[in-house]
């Protein structure tokens, strides 16, 4: 029987009612009395030296409050980077300054040059058009390999070159890996591009900066996944505002997918300008601005080699990746191709020797940072693609090759520095085989062929490291922050509970799933629990939501705080029941003395805590409110197996997804419906990456896919009904809920299965093609089939962001 309450039940998402009926409170819904509006004048060239800016005419236009340029920010800090990666040479990465408004140079199309604050958005925009800027064009650095060649134009004049870092992992394994590859019975090599993506949350970014003259306090309302992180980064590094004078509020946020983790110039601008103008300042991004200012995702160019022995055991993996950083280092950018990518290169397999080399490169493009999965999709894609290619070269079944190399004993220490606590990879593969009806594939292929279509099956596994992460570990790896989470559980006098969490919900459904945990622990109705998040003024210091960490880390903090509450409540109950607190049991919202029929209700105890007339005041304080911080002992390691079936139209190269199945192991599951929804959304984004989405620059650094006319988002009609299953559960061993996290799995696991399926279909049609770079648009597939040259297709070139024909 499915449960109807508590852990494992699937109550509908309570927040959806307000989201779907127009009652949400998004940042753009926030209007502060007297606010002015800012319009940013952005660079329309990729690279250039600003020779002059004349704001005189703009400043005199109707409604203009003030015009700002880089000069106004000379005394202000640089937008900081939150992670320092150390290169193979032992030196820290090259870290350029990132000004709020351009200083001297513009470095990507969309780089803000000046900002006009005016009474209305239209006046600000009119005046921005009247600003006269002279820019001396410089050659655009777009191609990553050309960017690191000798004598290349530098994106940052004060850096040595365009190489942010050259990272080797594990450097000590390097020679052994080289040798294993040399000695291998078989080596499969694959060059590929992991295409650049635009996150495209439904809600564009918005910021409202407020400064109160009477108190010198600042408030920033912003579309963020982690308001405390913004408060720390912006307050301490950019504007010099102590945290107790700065409140950051991220109210309802309409999707983030990573791109709303980072601290952006516009947030600092609005906060700074609010004081400078003595007026609240609001900015709402247009969709066009979002394309050229939200951090992009992925953008790797990789060569991977997989070595196998004569029995087809994996003996070594070696990769070389060029990772695009864009023009500046966004908050987490350096960590994505390194610690979130290299550490995953073992995948689900017993590969004893692994060496990962990553060169991070500055280019005249929008900064690149974490996007749903962040590094892990890139790792999974190359590994699962090269395994498929190896199976084909060796003439063996790709599923059997995977099974043969599965890790089966846990805990398992990989050669890339992480320890998987639990997992059962054969079980998810068995489950996949069942739910995807793999045995029926041949019959379905025949049906497709009868219609003149080529059908392909792609299967792959994935592992991800999420629930990030142990603070001491990430500190050693270069993180400039801890990655714990926090919660305050406040029990009110009449028994209702408010949970203040540092986790931030922007589509994940925390307001529904977190109360399920509390309800389970105490035995009360979920409606008695309210989740508060997103405001530094009333939630404890939290690190926010990303990396599938909310339930694993934030949920664990909440459990710890709730345990403290329960322990204290038991003492109060013991007093009321005149028993020893060790004899008190809490069940179904009632405290009882073990082995007796004596009991008091949850509400009696909470009331006693706040009306402490009959209360052990000498032993315990009144009130019932506890805070806990939880620092995870390890990452969590969700895993799974995915299968995709496609049809390819041999005449046009058009790919359609006919079936998609996902068997995931997320450990324990709090709300299966929400988990399925997360997987569905993740698969849609993964399919988007595999078939449709392509953020593309031309060689001048102009963004070609700058709107929905050219940037293809997945739509419902592009997707089949998914079959998802999360009944394979190996609970996480190191957090109190045994949960692993599910937010990114779909986006990590699905691209390789789509591409594997298309390649399989092409082979069935007699086109012996090894690889096509994502997105597998009809044009690219057709070109591959016919041997024609296609836009951006071919072996991995330095310019991953290509698209120009």
């Amino acid at each position: 029987m499915p449960k109807d309450t508590g852990i494992g039940a699937s109550p509908k998402r309570r927040e959806d009612v307000r989201f779907l009926t127009g009652d949400g409170n998004y940042t753009d819904d926030i209007n502060v009395h007297g606010q002015a509006y800012v319009h940013f004048l952005r660079s329309d060239v990729a690279h250039g030296r600003i020779t002059s800016i004349d704001t005189a005419e703009a400043g005199a236009m109707p409604g203009v409050v003030r015009v700002f340029t880089g000069k106004d920010f000379e005394g202000v800090g640089s937008i900081p980077c939150g992670w320092q990666v150390t290169g193979r040479d032992g030196k820290p990465m090259q870290e350029p300054a990132h000004p709020v408004l351009a200083q001297g140079k513009v470095r990507h199309v969309g780089d803000p040059i000046a900002a006009v604050v005016a009474d209305t958005p239209a006046q600000a925009r009119d005046a921005a058009e009247a600003i006269m800027v002279d820019i001396e064009d410089l050659p655009a650095v777009v191609d990553m390999k050309a960017a690191v060649a000798d004598g290349a134009t530098k994106v940052h004049d004060d850096l040595e070159n365009n190489l942010c870092y050259d990272w080797g992992f594990v450097e000590d394994n390097r020679d052994a890996v080289d040798k294993a590859i040399k000695d291998a019975a078989h080596v499969t090599t694959l060059e590929l591009v992991n295409n650049r993506l635009v996150a495209n949350p439904m809600e564009p970014r918005v910021a409202v900066g407020v400064w109160e003259k009477g108190t010198d306090n600042y408030t920033l309302y912003t579309t963020s996944q982690n308001p405390h992180v913004i408060r720390l980064l912006m307050g301490a590094f950019v504007l010099g505002i102590p945290e107790h004078k700065l409140r950051v509020v991220a109210p309802d946020v309409g999707g983030g997918f990573g791109t709303k983790i980072f601290h952006y110039a516009e947030e600092a601008f609005c906060t700074f300008a609010a004081k400078a103008c003595r007026r609240p300042v609001k900015w709402t991004a247009s969709r066009s601005e979002a394309f050229m200012s939200d951090a992009h995702g992925r953008d790797h160019v990789t060569k991977i080699e997989l070595a196998l022995d004569a029995d087809h055991n994996f003996t070594a993996v070696r990769t070389e990746t060029y990772a695009n950083m864009g023009a500046y280092l966004s908050t987490f950018a350096p960590s994505v191709p390194t610690w979130l990518h290299g550490t995953l290169m073992a995948g689900n397999y017993r590969t004893p020797l692994i060496y990962v080399n990553v060169k991070a490169v500055f280019t005249n493009t929008v900064p690149v940072d974490a996007y749903r999965g962040a590094g892990r999709p890139e790792a999974t894609f190359q590994l699962e693609r090269v395994i498929d290619k190896a199976a084909r070269e060796l003439g063996v079944d790709p599923i059997e090759l995977r099974r043969k190399n599965f890790i089966t004993e846990f805990p398992y220490a990989t050669p890339v520095a992480v320890e998987y606590d639990t997992g059962d990879y054969p079980a998810t593969m068995d489950k996949l085989s069942e739910i995807a009806d793999l045995s029926g594939f041949d019959a379905r292929r025949k049906e497709s062929e009868a219609k003149g279509k080529w059908r392909g099956l792609g299967v792959n596994c994935y592992i991800e490291a999420c629930g990030i992460a142990p603070s001491n570990l990430v500190g050693q790896l270069g993180a400039r922050a801890g990655l714990y989470e926090s919660a305050t559980v406040r029990v009110n006098a009449t028994g209702g509970i408010t949970v203040m969490t540092g986790s931030h919900s922007h589509g994940q459904g925390h307001e529904t799933s977190f109360p399920q945990v509390i309800a389970e622990m105490i035995g009360i109705d979920e409606s008695m629990v309210e989740i508060v998040h997103g405001d530094t003024a009333n939630t404890p210091m939290g690190m926010g939501t990303y990396g599938s960490r909310s339930i694993a880390v934030g949920g664990s903090a909440m459990v710890r705080a709730a345990e403290k509450v329960v322990n204290k409540a038991k003492k109060i109950a013991a007093h009321l029941l005149e028993a020893s607190d060790s004899d008190i049991e809490l069940k179904e919202g009632k405290f009882s003395v073990a082995g007796t029929d004596k009991s008091v209700a949850w509400g009696d105890v909470t009331l006693a805590a706040y009306v402490p007339h009959n209360y052990p005041l000498e032993d315990i304080e009144p009130g019932l409110e506890e805070t806990a911080f939880y620092d995870p002992a390890n990452f969590t390691y969700p895993s799974g197996a995915y299968a995709c079936e496609v049809e390819v139209d041999p005449e046009t190269g058009q790919v359609t997804i006919e079936r998609f199945a996902a068997a995931d192991d997320f450990g324990n599951v709090i709300n299966p419906m929400i988990v399925s929804g997360q997987v569905h959304g993740g698969i849609a984004q993964g399919v988007g990456q595999a078939l449709l989405e392509n953020c593309s620059y031309d060689s001048e650094g102009q963004l070609l896919s700058a709107s929905y006319m050219d940037y293809a988002m997945p739509r419902a009609a592009d997707l089949p009904m998914f079959t998802v299953d999360h009944s394979c559960q190996t609970p996480c061993t190191h957090n109190p809920l045994g949960v692993k996290g599910c937010g990114e799995a779909g986006a990590i696991g699905s691209p390789p299965s789509v591409v594997n399926a298309v390649i399989d279909a092409l082979h069935s049609g007699g086109c012996k093609i090894d690889h096509i770079d994502m997105p597998l648009t009809p044009s690219r597939v057709w070109a591959a089939m016919t041997g024609a040259a296609a836009a951006g297709h071919g072996t991995a070139e330095g310019r991953s962001v290509g698209g120009e024909v």
């Binding site: 896919s705 648009t777 009809p778 044009s779 070109a783």
Partner: protein, 264 residues
């Protein structure tokens, strides 16, 4: 958007008058023009909405078996009426433009006036040999389309009606550009008792065109096989993020064959 004046006349005559102001521009359904204005890519002094002019709305059949579509008729109405008047090929075309919101506002006059190289109607207009009727004259489709976003229309000239000969059989095949869902290549095939028309949109750098070689072949044998050996040269085809010139040239052949098959 920049500021502009706005008029909403009730007759073509008043609209023509209103359009005499310098930099005045007609507004149809706004499905192309409004986004352009929002991006500040156009700066008309005045918009003259055609939405209040009843005389340019509606669909009927004339005595020469032509479908006469008012220039201000929206795509949804065209899709419905073309079906009941025995022109399913046009229904197929109009019902796949954009989404319901676009189809309930966008007009055929706006589409033909704009002449986007990827617009759908121009393919039908060319294939059927339509006549574009304006407030001042009648223009044959062959003379009307002048390349990308260029037409024979003069300043302030309003499309009041489009007369499309109704074919005995017709079909439109649209291969969608994955992002915009406009045609990457769209082919309209129309079979009449004495000729076959093939209009191709989305493909060429010089805009919509008639594939006369295919028309001839299909004129003597209206079957997909008849055009199997034919191809258009890649030279002069559009190359962009979504498809090379070669790919577009290839799709012209595939979509033509499929349209012929669908029109059987």
């Amino acid at each position: 958007m920049y500021n502009f004046d706005f008029e909403r006349p009730k007759s073509v005559a008043d609209a023509v008058k209103a359009l005499q102001t310098e930099e005045a521009q007609p507004l149809g359904g706004g499905q192309t023009l409004i986004p352009t204005l929002k991006q500040r890519l156009a700066m008309p002094s005045k918009l003259v909405s055609l939405a209040g002019i009843d005389e340019i709305k509606g669909v009927c059949k004339d005595d020469q078996n032509r479908l006469c579509i008012g220039g201000g008729t929206v795509h949804r109405v065209i899709a419905e009426k073309a079906m009941s008047e025995g022109f399913p090929g046009l229904t197929g075309l109009a019902s796949k433009i954009g989404d319901p919101a676009v189809r309930n506002r966008g007009t055929i006059g706006g589409s033909l006036a704009n002449n986007d190289p990827s617009a759908c109607y121009p393919a039908a207009a060319m294939a059927t040999g339509a006549t574009i009727v304006t407030d001042r004259r009648e223009i044959a489709a062959d003379d009307y389309f002048k390349g990308l976003f260029e037409t024979a229309l003069e300043e302030g000239e309003i499309i009041t009606e489009v007369k499309m000969p109704i074919p005995e059989a017709s079909a439109y095949m649209k291969f969608e550009q994955p992002a915009s869902r406009f045609p990457l290549v769209g082919v309209f095939v129309a079979r009449f008792s004495d000729r076959v028309g093939v209009g191709v949109t989305g493909a060429s750098e010089s805009g919509v065109f008639r594939w006369t070689e295919a028309e001839r072949a299909l004129g003597s044998d209206f079957s997909a096989d008849a055009v199997k050996g034919l191809s258009v040269p890649a030279d002069g085809m559009i190359s962009d993020l979504h498809g090379t010139a070669e790919y577009r040239a290839h799709l012209v052949g595939v979509m033509t064959r499929r349209a012929v098959a669908a029109a059987q």
